[in-house]
């Protein structure tokens, strides 16, 4: 099945969209006050695309990340991943989804400080039931892929920010996820390192066909994104498409439908 870019998002065969948000509202209680972080977000994300979510601070990017990633539940509305309503999942199914279907990348890298780079990458595979030997082999392969083949046994504290983020990317890829969700992946990196990380994400998106959803303020992301969703005050302000989208979506061919 060849996935053609849909400029208007009305045609839905069901499998074409990997993530669908419908009227997602999220409210937080701050004491007695209600803060509406998301105010009715409807967004369909195409399998294999590189989507950036942009917006000013406090606009609800991280909140949307939590909703899509199954880290928190919407106050109302629903989020579907591969046509499964996340509200229907119990704790174990959610954990399984987080382990196998989604890879997470954070602004603060979030490596487990007591584990080496390789052990960090191995952890999701161990959770997923791989044997230690298999996990070591794949872990080394992934760390090589992100350019850290030489630093397998370093602790996070012995790595630079850019290197830590590379380990985090390798870890996010551990179980061959369909989606990589990133929250400000370049937020704590300098300009050049940030650019390298963006390029790496783009390369993984092209070569492995993994859908990338990234919340960011970083304008460097615009160049590589297939679509940019601008949000403001918890609502989608506008969606921009890149005309060069065809080149890359064609490579998602062969993804089972």
């Amino acid at each position: 099945m060849a996935v053609q870019p849909q400029t208007n998002q009305t045609v839905a065969t069901g499998t074409e969209y990997i993530v669908r948000c419908k009227d997602v509202v999220k409210e937080y209680m701050m004491g007695t006050q209600v803060v509406r972080a998301l105010n009715g977000v409807t967004l369909d994300i195409v399998r294999g695309e590189y989507l950036s979510i942009m917006g000013p601070s406090g606009s609800g990017k991280s909140t949307l990340f939590n909703m899509i990633g199954g880290l928190d539940k919407p106050t109302s509305g629903s989020v579907f991943i591969n046509d499964v309503d996340m509200a229907q999942l119990d704790a174990q199914e959610l954990a399984f989804l987080r382990c196998r279907t989604i890879g997470y990348i954070f602004q603060t890298f979030n490596l487990i400080p007591v584990m080496t780079a390789l052990e960090n990458v191995m952890l999701p595979m161990i959770f997923g039931g791989l044997s230690t030997d298999e996990a070591i082999d794949r872990g080394i392969e992934l760390l090589k892929l992100v350019g850290l083949g030489e630093r397998l046994h370093h602790k996070p504290s012995e790595l630079s920010g850019g290197q830590q983020q590379r380990v985090a990317i390798a870890r996010a890829l551990a179980n061959n996820p369909q989606i990589i969700l990133a929250d400000e992946p370049t937020g704590n990196l300098d300009l050049r390192t940030g650019k390298e990380i963006i390029e790496l994400l783009r390369q993984l998106n092209k070569e492995q066909g993994v859908t990338i959803i990234s919340a960011t303020h970083d304008l460097k992301m615009i160049d590589v994104s297939d679509r940019i969703v601008w949000i403001r005050d918890g609502r989608i302000d506008r969606v921009e498409e890149r005309s060069a989208i065809e080149v890359h979506v064609g490579e998602v061919e062969g993804t089972p439908g």
Binding site: N82, A91, F127, G129
Partner: protein, 203 residues
């Protein structure tokens, strides 16, 4: 390729060997935090062992012991162990709040609540074990030193090595158990930490 979505109800796992390794590294790398947690057990066990050793020496020296003294000491030891329990719980709770991001991240990688509980229990058992051995040594050492000053070298003939060794076994059993019991509440708190805590910037 598997048809994904959450409906794929596979079970995730954390083998004991891996959990043990992570907990061990955690104790080692967060050394000073571990010392604070261990302090409670060390003191409690040192007090217990010092009381036991003092009573043994007194008995072997042929001095007459007042039976009510024994009850008073038992009471004191129990109270001190309870105080230590609260101390360990407190130190562990602090440790949990410090690690909110790490716990949230583990959950993002697929950890079940029970994995988190397991990690904290193994960690506290390890700390409890090491602390008990240290506490035992300090307890015996302190009493022998004091008696040495007051009674001279004859104290050594009043020490039964078999009994002192038995105290080590008691210490390890009680100290490790104490440490694990003290971690029940902190481990619960940790397990309830939401996965979204991984994104939180401050506590």
């Amino acid at each position: 390729m598997k048809k994904a979505g959450g409906r794929d109800v596979g079970r995730l796992q954390l083998p004991f060997r891996v959990a043990f390794h992570i907990s061990m590294q955690s104790v080692r790398i967060r050394f000073w935090r571990s010392v604070i947690t261990a302090a409670g057990t060390v003191l409690g066990i040192a007090f217990l062992v010092s009381v036991l050793t003092a009573m043994m020496i007194q008995q072997n020296s042929g001095a007459i012991t007042d039976p009510s003294e024994k009850y008073r000491m038992t009471w004191l030891v129990i109270m001190s162990l309870l105080v230590c329990l609260v101390g360990i719980t407190n130190a562990m709770l602090m440790s949990v709040t410090e690690r909110y991001k790490e716990i949230g991240t583990m959950k993002c990688l697929g950890a079940y609540d029970i994995f988190i509980v397991e990690l904290f229990f193994i960690e506290s058992a390890l700390v409890g074990f090491i602390a008990s051995v240290i506490g035992w040594f300090l307890g015996v050492f302190a009493v022998v030193l004091i008696k040495l000053f007051s009674e001279g070298f004859k104290v050594f003939s009043w020490i039964s090595p078999g009994e002192v060794f038995l105290y080590l076994i008691y210490s390890i059993l009680i100290g490790t158990l104490l440490s694990v019991i003290a971690t029940i509440i902190p481990a619960q708190v940790a397990a309830r930490m939401p996965a979204a805590a991984a994104l939180r910037v401050e506590v």
